[in-house]
């Protein structure tokens, strides 16, 4: 069951968790845009470090590190691809300066990717799905969309557990998943997929029935038990967003050319 445990959501409370998801999302977007606007290592490193206080205040260091480790492979891939293409066009560098000029942009690209992953993971690690669903409900998105989202979150762990049971049931009937060649192995999954799909369909019908019985679609404009209100933390983050935006625009327009590069130190 271990691999599915991560899919279960839990209510956690921290100043970061309590921030309105919509504002947190805008923050992520701003970081995203900033990261794209710069290719130098220095600003990207600053953007990277800026997330750390969030991680620590929300106490999600462990999960955060895990997500970074997960991204490390792709990051390494980006780095290598960049280096290889540069080698291909420019040939083997002969001086230290040339080496730096080759490595730096590759490193920048990699850093940019890491900043993106980092900010999105901070967002998802500190936003409980029910809060996110609520934010969706209260934004202008159609309610069906928000409902689909929360129901998905609600049933992912249920389906994951069911998949595990189905796998056990078929193994108990002698199915060996990792037997045979590639084609056979794919075919091995048919006895697992069919019951899973059939049960998902049955479930969705039962859900629809229960929804109908609870007056789904009675009025055009649904109301909501909860109301999202902005708190101190939300305003603080709005302040930070404005600040980051201003600094980014300023730096990008006026000091972009004079941002020091690694190679300038040589």
């Amino acid at each position: 069951m271990s691999i599915f445990d991560g899919l279960k959501f839990r209510k956690v409370s921290s100043p970061i968790h309590n921030i309105d998801p919509r504002i947190k999302f805008i923050y992520v977007i701003i970081i995203f845009i900033s990261a794209i606007l710069f290719h130098q290592i220095l600003p990207l490193a600053i953007l990277f470090l800026m997330q750390l206080p969030f991680v620590f205040i929300a106490k999600v260091q462990k999960q955060w590190l895990r997500s970074l480790r997960g991204a490390a492979f792709i990051a390494g891939f980006i780095f290598v691809i960049n280096i290889v293409t540069r080698l291909f066009y420019n040939g083997w560098p002969t001086t230290t300066l040339a080496t730096l000029e080759m490595v730096e942009p590759a490193l920048g690209m990699t850093m940019r990717f890491i900043v993106l992953v980092e900010s999105f993971s901070v967002f998802f690690l500190t936003t409980s799905p029910d809060y996110l669903g609520l934010a969706l409900e209260q934004s202008r998105a159609p309610y069906e969309f928000a409902f689909a989202f929360t129901t998905a979150v609600r049933f992912v762990p249920v389906l994951a557990e069911e998949a595990q049971t189905i796998m056990d049931a078929q193994k108990a009937r002698g199915l060996e998943l990792d037997k045979g060649n590639v084609l056979k192995r794919i075919r091995n999954y048919i006895p697992i997929l069919i019951p899973l799909i059939v049960s998902a369909i049955r479930r969705s019908l039962e859900l629809a029935e229960a929804m109908e019985s609870r007056a789904w679609g009675a009025v055009k404009k649904r109301t909501n038990l909860y109301l999202l209100k902005l708190h101190k933390g939300d305003y603080a983050l709005i302040g930070i967003i404005v600040l980051v935006l201003l600094v980014t625009i300023y730096v990008r327009l006026f000091v972009f050319e004079s941002i020091p590069l690694l190679s300038t130190f040589f």
Partner: protein, 275 residues
């Protein structure tokens, strides 16, 4: 024969589900494992065919340690029927569904046909041979799942909550069916909440609580021990409820069978010349 020696099992999230279980299941035994949700019953039985392997301790099936072999090999001896038939049915016809395991185990064509025919007959499903299992009723689907396991004739049959969602008649059928298996000297282990069903089947009862076995004995002793059952949130069987109240008359309180109940009361009535 299944021997379990001081088995501990912890899930990946460090929850210890089994805390030192030892048990011997002899050939031909009929056992009901009871206990409240989270007592570790399902975790325990999944050790019998190697779906779970002990974190420490041993489970041996016919002398072979489950850690040293595969689920597929163990399954030949230990057939496992899951609670919900819909978690395994996938074939186009009942016949194919029953043949699935036989093919996995590498039986030849002729034997497969023979075994399928036998299993269909045994569970009175012959008329549905070519029907899609998805078109059958809940009780019938449950029987197909059972047939698909029985087909390879395992020595031991493990049933997880066989009576859940079943009506009275279906439970009666199941009970007769288990009796038939017993006459064939099969070992039957079932996990269930259904005290009434256990009282009617009269097996050896193993009571689990918090990952440990807290009682092991004949149904009559365990199902009439109200203190023990209460700790496991199990209700006394209906007949036992009556006799617990009647014990102040000097009647025995360890009665779960309706015929025994009738005779005991009639004797008492005769004593009092009420008849």
């Amino acid at each position: 024969m299944i021997t379990v020696e001081n088995v501990h099992y912890s899930y990946a999230n460090n929850v210890e589900a089994l805390k030192g279980i030892s048990l011997t299941i002899n050939d031909g035994d009929f056992i009901a494992i009871m206990g409240q949700n989270g007592a570790g019953k399902t975790t325990f039985i999944k050790h019998f065919n190697g779906l779970l392997k002990p974190s420490s301790g041993f489970v041996r099936v016919n002398g072979v340690e489950t850690t040293k072999t595969s689920v597929a090999t163990l399954a030949r001896n230990v057939g496992f029927v899951f609670q919900n038939p819909d978690n395994q049915l996938f074939s186009e016809s009942v016949e194919d569904e029953i043949a699935f395991a036989l093919k996995n185990f590498g039986f030849d064509k002729e034997t497969i046909t023979k075994r399928v025919t036998w299993a269909l007959e045994f569970l009175s499903l012959t008329q549905y041979r070519k029907t899609s299992p998805f078109l059958l009723s809940g009780g019938e689907r449950k029987r197909v799942a059972l047939a698909s396991v029985l087909a390879w004739d395992p020595e031991t049959l493990v049933l997880d909550e066989p009576t859940i969602g079943q009506d009275y008649e279906q439970k009666e059928k199941l009970r007769h069916f288990i009796l038939q298996l017993r006459t064939k000297k099969k070992t039957v282990v079932m996990v269930t909440h259904d005290v009434e069903f256990v009282a009617e089947c009269n097996p050896r009862v193993i009571l689990m609580c918090n990952g440990q076995i807290v009682a092991d004995g004949i149904a009559k002793d365990i199902l009439t021990n109200s203190k023990l059952l209460e700790e496991s949130s199990i209700v006394l069987p209906q007949i036992a409820q009556i006799f617990t109240k009647l014990s102040i008359l000097g009647l025995p309180s360890d009665i779960i069978d309706i015929d025994e109940a009738e005779n005991t009361i009639l004797t008492k009535a005769k004593e009092r010349r009420l008849k």
